[in-house]
């Protein structure tokens, strides 16, 4: 789900979304790579956070995404700022909800 589909400037509030990782093995290398590749397609700054961890990390860094150690059933928060922030969050949420097309 995304809260808003509008674009935001770096100063305004980010667009946010949330989705639950369904794969029984969590966010393995392949889905992590898919997620970062998708994120890189947008100009917006995109960050994700795992519900078990307070840290926001760069969704365009496969290394950082892997190190989140997202497990099955974890809820991921996504936030984006800048050009295309709305569509970026929507696309990220959709990819996770489609279970990374796996």
């Amino acid at each position: 789900m995304t809260d808003a589909a509008q674009e935001t400037s770096p100063e305004t509030a980010p667009v946010t979304g949330e989705a639950v990782v369904r794969d029984p093995t969590g966010l393995h290398a392949r889905p992590a790579v898919k997620l970062t590749k998708l994120a890189k397609g947008f100009d917006a700054t995109i960050e994700i956070r795992d519900e078990r961890n307070d840290r926001w990390i760069n969704a365009k860094s496969p290394n950082a995404v892997m190190k989140l150690r997202v497990a099955s059933g974890d809820s991921l928060s996504i936030r984006a700022r800048g050009a295309g922030a709305g569509p970026a969050v929507a696309a990220m949420v959709a990819l996770i909800e489609r279970n990374f097309d796996g």
């Binding site: 029984p24 093995t25 290398a29 790579v33 860094s61 497990a71 099955s72």
Partner: protein, 540 residues
């Protein structure tokens, strides 16, 4: 033992079974040598060029890769385009650092983080980073360091180490096997070699040098050794073993999709063990009679406690995969050698004899209730059997049945779709094995790994006592026989799901104990079926 003249035997660990005879292709891990650092701008350009080359090489490999290889390679490829990682390296270059130092230090820092976790999957990713580190460093030091060894026909690769991507680059139509000083049987390279049927020995216990280059050798990846300059006797023995192995593989392959039938006409159920659902992608459901053991610990990796829906989804997938065949799911077997931070007790002097398996589940009822609810919901989708580990006395199973009844009543009250799964126990505690007839259960499954450990008083994780932990010990076989008889008398099913069932040499003994259902590692279905077919009638 006196070594025959001239023959040199190097011991190692078998990581991928097989035998090979051929000349040694020795790949000396050349020291990368000195590399002079240039100006920050030159270093930046050198790094960019090396990374671009590495990216191109990985891209070529991905094109011909299977699923596992692609996962390893794509992650490495993505790391080369990781702006955070690159940012850290470039920061060091701007401060006047050399490209090779900055790259190596940054990656080493990441590797330490990956290795710090207790999640095996996560730790294994450290291998990917080191693999990539080496590839880029080689490029930084110049193309000469990237050359592959000359692949002699039928050669046996011998090296100090072998990275996964290097393994994938080698021409395995020419090479017949590999032996390395480093590595472990659980490394990516070992998994890749097993998947391709390439014999691999790791952990070679010897210093290697160039003088072995081209020497005739025998690679015995059954016992885990490399024999350099083998004598005639060794060669003849290995050639016979090669022929036997080839015909065995062929025969096993022919049986994999057929039911396992004894000469008496009795059918033996061959089920599979699932440690990680990822294995199901590589396994054909029709090759087995269902899933005999699912180790649900995979859901609890890294201290994670999965919710009911996440568990239900995992169980649903197993049932869908099995397509009407029975699916046995073991409730959480934490404790012992499988600690879960925050759940398993800390400071037990002997965790294998402590609060583990069902003992832990009964002490953490909220956690157990979530699993039972997810299982009861999944039972509505297909034939599901719930197996409880580490049961000692009948009262424990009575408590589990009562909890299951509460779960079913709760789901019914809320109108949630569910069904009653079969409820059985794992037989692994000796007193439970000896009093199996007293338990109110729908089925038994003998957990031979722990049963052998507890009967022989030999820790499974201590190689010093491994020779004493012999599953052939008559006491072990006698207990198995008694459990089978107890099951017959009660009219309930009995199976065996430990490592014994996956050993073709031990399968005849299990059949002699009267077992007609066993659960095995998916890769061994064919070999086990062959062992069953070759066995006579056995006791019954």
């Amino acid at each position: 033992m006196v070594e025959p003249e001239g023959e040199r035997v190097i011991e190692g660990i078998a990581a991928a079974e097989g035998l090979a005879v051929g000349p040694i292709v020795f790949q000396h891990t050349a020291s990368l040598g000195h590399r002079a650092a240039g100006s920050p701008l030159e270093e930046r350009e050198a790094l960019n060029a090396a990374m671009a080359e590495a990216s191109r090489e990985i891209g070529v490999l991905v094109a011909g890769a299977d699923k596992l290889a692609a996962e390893i390679l794509e992650f490495q490829g993505a790391l080369l385009e990781d702006e955070d990682l690159l940012g850290a390296v470039l920061g060091q270059l701007d401060a006047g650092g050399a490209a090779h130092d900055a790259w190596a230090e940054t990656i080493d820092g990441e590797v330490a983080e990956y290795r710090a976790g207790d999640d095996e999957y996560f730790r294994a990713r450290a291998e990917d980073l080191l693999d990539l580190k080496t590839r880029v460093l080689r490029r930084l030091h110049g193309a000469a360091a990237c050359d592959l060894p000359p692949a002699a026909e039928d050669g046996i690769l011998v090296a100090e180490d072998l990275t996964p991507s290097r393994f994938l680059e080698l021409d395995w139509s020419l090479l017949r096997g590999a032996a390395i000083q480093g590595g472990s049987p659980t490394s990516h390279v070992a998994i890749l070699a097993r998947a391709r049927g390439i014999p691999l020995v790791v952990g070679l216990d010897a210093e290697l040098d160039d003088c072995i280059q081209g020497a005739p050798a025998v690679l015995d990846a059954k016992t885990g050794r490399l024999v350099i300059a083998p004598n005639k006797g060794t060669l003849a023995r290995i050639k016979r073993a090669q022929a036997a192995l080839a015909s065995e593989r062929c025969a096993a392959e022919a049986l994999v999709d057929r039911p396992a039938v004894l000469t008496t006409g009795d059918t033996v159920q061959v089920l599979i063990n699932v440690d990680d659902p990822a294995i199901l992608e590589a396994t054909v459901p029709a090759h087995c009679d269902g899933i005999g053991l699912t180790r649900t610990e995979f859901l609890f990796r890294d201290g994670h406690l999965p919710g009911e829906d996440a568990q239900f989804e995992a169980y649903r997938r197993l049932i869908v995969w099995a397509g009407g065949r029975s699916v046995t799911i073991r409730t959480l077997d934490a404790g012992g050698d499988k600690p879960i931070p925050g759940v398993t007790p800390i400071g037990e002097t002997n965790p294998f004899l402590g609060v583990r398996g069902l003992r832990l589940s009964l002490q953490t009822p909220a956690l157990f209730a979530v699993q039972l609810r997810a299982l009861a919901r999944a039972a509505a989708l297909g034939p599901l059997k719930v197996m409880v580990p580490m049961v000692t006395v009948p009262q424990e199973m009575d408590r589990v049945r009562a909890l299951l009844n509460d779960t079913l009543a709760g789901l019914a009250a809320k109108g949630v779709a569910h069904a009653r799964p079969a409820l059985g126990m794992m037989v692994e505690v000796p007193v439970a094995a000896m009093t199996a007839d007293r338990f109110d259960v729908d089925f038994f499954s003998i957990g031979s790994n722990d049963l052998v450990q507890y009967l022989t008083a030999c820790a499974r994780d201590n190689p010093a006592v491994a020779p004493l932990a012999d599953p052939r010990n008559p006491a072990v076989l006698e207990l198995i026989r008694r459990v089978v008889e107890a099951a017959r008398a009660k009219g309930v099913e009995v199976s065996l799901c430990g490592d014994m069932a996956s050993d073709p040499d031990l399968v005849p003994l299990l059949l002699d104990c009267g077992l007609r259902s066993i659960s095995v590692a998916p890769a061994l279905i064919g070999r086990v079926k062959l062992a069953i077919q070759r066995h006579g009638g056995g006791a019954g």
